[in-house]
């Protein structure tokens, strides 16, 4: 009699698109809400453009408490900058400097998004244009968010406003 072998459950990540939008012109924030059923999330902001120079940041679950920490490598436009960035207990994940309009590509991965505890994140990006002030582009970042609940909302906030350009997307790996 043959033995039926049950193959092990796959542990590889099958990323699926959850939602994708072009920002509404004039909006200050773009939020994905009612997220559930995903153990990992990937946030992408590609070729979005601000209406006037400003910065953007990322928050989870509308949480602006001092719960975000990271280290990042900064790029001054030519070489990796000697002035890198490290934050402990920030109120958001800062994604760019204050002198940009074209945001290039920003891609962030968040782990364990269906769990209650601390979430790690890692990201990379390239801001397409440079403002008068050198430095402040974050090509590589990793850190964590002192969460106490699963991720249900991801918000991209600008200090100015978005134009109707580019794409903001959320991908996930189902539980």
């Amino acid at each position: 009699m043959g033995i039926n072998v049950i193959p092990p459950l796959s542990t590889s990540d099958d990323w699926v698109l959850i939602s994708s939008v072009t920002p509404t012109g004039g909006a200050s924030t773009v939020s994905f809400t009612s997220i559930s059923g995903y153990r990992k999330l990937m946030f992408r902001s590609i070729n979005t453009v601000l209406g006037s120079t400003g910065s953007v940041n990322l928050t989870f679950n509308s949480d602006t408490g001092t719960k975000y920490s990271w280290t990042s490598v900064r790029w001054d436009g030519t070489i990796l900058s000697a002035t890198n960035s490290m934050e402990f207990g920030a109120t958001n994940i800062s994604l760019s400097s204050t002198t940009n309009t074209n945001l290039g590509g920003l891609i962030y991965y968040i782990d364990d998004t269906d769990k209650n505890g601390i979430k790690r994140f890692t990201g990379f990006g390239n801001v397409a244009t440079f403002g008068p002030s050198a430095g402040g582009r974050f090509p590589s970042i990793q850190g964590d968010y002192l969460a106490s609940a699963p991720i249900s909302t991801v918000t991209l906030t600008s200090t100015t406003t978005f134009t109707a350009a580019g794409t903001v997307s959320l991908y996930g790996v189902k539980v």
């Binding site: 959850i18 200050s28 924030t29 939020s31 809400t33 002198t99 403002g131 200090t159």
Partner: protein, 40 residues
């Protein structure tokens, strides 16, 4: 010079696909002059 700015957000419910406009609190922003940085 300070300027009061009305803001709104874009909210996408990923479950229903509904996109709504969210009124955000007004903020006061300081208009600053961006100066050229000294060479590094």
């Amino acid at each position: 010079m300070k300027k009061v700015t009305k803001r709104f957000g874009m909210e996408i419910n990923v479950e229903t696909g509904e996109v709504t406009r969210l009124e955000l609190p007004e903020i006061e922003i300081e208009e600053v002059e961006i100066l050229e940085a000294d060479s590094v």
